[in-house]
């Protein structure tokens, strides 16, 4: 700690009496914000649950689920902010930086909701402003600064390394483009996902529509007159959602199970390892086939569930190995000796130190999950014919293979590019994130 910060702290403790009210106001605002978060989150959770119970029109489930998840996140954040507000009253050092981060996070979540969320977001930014009032800042900022600078340096070094390798940059650019295209689909497509003009079937790229007033088919049409370009972009939404959600859920399940197995060892560990052994005895696609078959319903949801079931053991193995190596280290011993609970040690000490291989693996798996999902849809497990999904588009177009190759070429290219990008990024990140390799 530098001399200024010590001085600042000393000053802080000297005229604590004078600034006591300011800290109390800060804590009060923090508590009010957390209460508002509780109210908002609770209302939206109950409201969306009520609508779900009452039955809903088709298509709105997506928004409802999104709201539900967002409000749950807000509830969790509000609870954490409540604890922080209490800690602020006691002037705990950690509470200041935590308040900074969590309030900003809350603002972000509120902003994604839009509408009334913006008002709440402005309310949540107030504690941040108060934190940076000169008097309050003097109390907590110096030690926070000392804490953060090395982290920012490390981050900037990683960013520099990423910028320096063209392949990673290319991968990131492709991925970002695909995500942007998927999000902007309603604005850049010329046709709907399942809109067809039967008179236009099997047209080559660039041909005009036979119906007056309809836009041109930039990349041609498929066998039933669907516009390939538009369907491809609509399908990007579906495919990216599958692969991202599968990877996220599998990472969460796998990390939890692997961390518990590695940390406690013994019988739990033995059991988990035998179970993952069994999962590894099946090739991914085949096990997915069997699971979808057993679930009995051929849809994108069952494909997602099957992929999640198939993918978690990879992460469980990975995390378990890492945790085994970390748990004997000195910092874990230190955390234990000051009385940290097992959950806290795992969540805040061990897992952050094991996360790098996890990031690499999950980045690369975005591509492999996409490939497997598309393969499953191609075999015929996916949504019913007509839906916009890359694998399914190829499967249908394959029947009219000799007349129309464009309907196969473009969706396949999209799959290839996405998988390639995720592999590029994962490959590059492995070299960049490995601290042993990077400082050379």
């Amino acid at each position: 700690m530098s001399s200024e910060s010590i001085q600042a702290m000393a000053e802080g403790s000297n005229d604590m009496e004078g600034r006591g009210t300011q800290f109390q106001i800060l804590a009060l605002i923090q508590l009010i914000v957390s209460m508002m978060g509780f109210m908002f989150g609770g209302t939206v959770v109950l409201g969306s649950l009520a609508v779900m119970m009452g039955g809903l029109e088709a298509g709105s489930w997506l928004f409802l689920t999104a709201w539900f998840v967002q409000s749950i996140i807000i509830l969790i954040l509000s609870y954490m902010l409540l604890r922080i507000g209490i800690a602020l009253l006691n002037r705990d050092m950690w509470a200041f930086s935590a308040a900074l981060y969590l309030n900003l996070l809350l603002v972000l979540v509120f902003l994604t909701i839009g509408g009334a969320g913006t008002i709440f977001a402005t309310a949540a930014i107030v504690p941040v402003v108060v934190l940076f009032l000169p008097d309050v800042k003097k109390y907590w900022y110096p030690s926070f600064y000392e804490d953060t600078v090395p982290r920012i340096k490390e981050l900037r070094h990683a960013l520099y390394l990423i910028r320096k390798s063209p392949l990673v940059v290319a991968g990131i650019v492709i991925l970002v483009c695909f995500v942007a295209i998927a999000l902007l689909a309603p604005f850049i497509t010329t046709y709907g996902p399942e809109q067809r003009i039967w008179a236009d079937s099997n047209l080559p790229p660039g041909s005009p529509s036979s119906v007056e007033g309809m836009p041109d088919h930039i990349w041609g049409t498929d066998d039933s007159g669907g516009d390939i370009y538009s369907r491809l972009i609509w399908a990007a939404q579906v495919d990216l959602r599958i692969s991202l959600s599968v990877v996220i859920v599998a990472v969460m399940i796998g990390t939890f199970i692997g961390a518990v197995a590695g940390y406690y060892g013994g019988k739990i560990d033995e059991l988990v390892m035998r179970v993952t052994d069994v999962f590894f005895a099946f090739p991914g696609l085949i096990l997915c086939m069997a699971i979808v078959m057993a679930l009995g319903e051929k849809s994108l949801d069952t494909i997602s569930i099957a992929l999640m079931v198939v993918w978690w053991p990879t992460y469980a193995r990975l995390v378990r190995g890492q945790v085994l190596a970390e748990r004997e280290k000195l910092y874990v011993e230190a955390a234990r000796s000051i009385g940290a609970s097992d959950g806290r040690i795992l969540l805040f000490h061990i897992i952050p130190n094991t996360i790098q291989p996890l990031i690499v693996q999950s980045t690369m798996d975005v591509g492999s999950v996409l490939l497997t999902a598309a393969g499953l849809a191609f075999i015929g497990f996916g949504p019913p014919a007509g839906a916009a999904e890359w694998g399914l588009m190829i499967a249908i177009a394959q029947l009219y293979f000799s007349m129309n190759q464009y309907a196969i070429f473009f969706p396949g290219m999209a799959i290839l590019l996405t998988a390639l990008a995720s592999n590029l990024v994962g490959d590059g990140l492995r070299d960049i994130l490995d601290p042993k390799l990077r400082r050379r």
Partner: protein
């Protein structure tokens, strides 16, 4: 640990996995799915269903059912495939298995013959133009949707050439059906049958041509995996001290790489080759449907469309057994090649 102990220990460790695999398939098709569906169709009268349940033991408690299932598996009763004229699953597997194995073997040969030299080339020319090309080639292989690649190959090498009137590769099946009509297999492997049992060389060549495109298509992923593995392990080995020593002795680069480095660099590659069997069989499901290859994969896909639970179950079991065996063999070879593993 002695080699014998190591092998024994590894064999014993495989037993719970095999049981786990059987339990898993049982769980999937008998708990989540409806096992009775295997034995009934739309024409079955509803009154007959309880009798069917009783006849196959589906009204027993679960543990008895589990035991019945396991004993059935061991006795070769893997159920009846409703989509393949109600014949036993084991019989069909025996019939279709050679075709798939033949295809996988050709793919594996492609992968080994191309992958290892490409990997060495990439490692010895690190960061040069040829290395970049090889890396992109390998990366594309890992991220290639195999069904799309198969269709594109078929489009270029079959349709386009055929339309242009040029000599072209055949686009599907195991041999030219029109020329050889029905064919009686002895071993089921067409390459072996045609040469040793029929002595028909033209048929052999025909079969080889038919294997070329699906074989390469199926092997591309494995080529990519082997190239990447070979490159990284070769680079690692080339950094070792004994390579520096060999170079400082004045040995030529050729001898250093092929005599000294290659042997140790091959160890991880052998593992990858063994593990690639799993991906080959997965790929076979997709490749066979496109090239109309009368193997297990195509049969399984057909079974899916007619909701043939027993066939899928049998196929999953078989693939898992192959995969477990391949892993076991890889581990054993690894233990023999690298004594450090045995003591670890």
């Amino acid at each position: 640990m002695k080699l014998r102990d190591f092998i024994l220990r590894r064999l014993i460790l495989a037993i719970p996995v095999v049981f786990g695999v059987m339990t898993m398939t049982w769980f999937l098709s008998y708990i989540i799915g409806n096992p009775v569906a295997m034995y009934i169709n739309t024409n079955t009268p509803a009154s007959a269903i309880p009798a069917i349940r009783r006849a196959h033991g589906f009204d027993e408690p679960l543990y008895v059912q589990y035991f019945l299932y396991l004993s059935g598996l061991f006795q070769g009763d893997w159920g009846i495939s409703t989509s393949t004229s109600f014949r036993p699953v084991t019989e069909i597997i025996l019939l279709k298995f050679p075709a798939t194995i033949e295809l996988s073997m050709i793919a594996m040969i492609f992968a080994i013959v191309l992958g290892i030299p490409l990997g060495i080339l990439s490692a010895t020319h690190k960061d040069q133009k040829i290395d970049h090309i090889m890396r992109i080639f390998a990366l594309a292989g890992v991220s290639m949707p195999i069904f799309w690649f198969a269709l594109m190959l078929k489009h270029v090498l079959y349709f386009q050439l055929a339309i242009a009137g040029l000599p072209h590769l055949p686009g599907g099946e195991r041999y030219t059906l029109i020329r050889y009509l029905s064919f009686k297999y002895t071993t089921g492997f067409l390459l072996i049958d045609s040469l040793f049992f029929y002595g028909d060389f033209t048929l052999f060549v025909d079969a080889l041509l038919h294997l070329a495109m699906p074989g390469f298509c199926l092997g591309y992923l494995t080529i990519a995996i082997i190239t990447r593995m070979m490159r990284s392990s070769m680079l690692e080995v080339l950094r070792e001290d004994y390579i520096t020593l060999a170079r400082s002795k004045g040995l030529t680069e050729r001898v250093v790489i092929y005599r000294h480095a290659l042997r140790n660099a091959m160890i991880p590659t052998v593992t990858v080759i063994g593990l690639a069997f799993g991906s080959l069989i997965t790929g076979a499901v997709l490749t066979e449907t496109i090239f109309n290859w009368p193997g297990l994969g195509k049969w399984a896909v057909r079974a899916i469309f007619s909701s043939d639970l027993a066939a899928i179950n049998g196929f999953t079991l078989l693939v898992a057994f192959i995969f477990v065996t391949a892993n076991l063999v890889v581990d054993l070879i690894y233990g023999v090649l690298d004594p450090r593993i045995r003591f670890g």
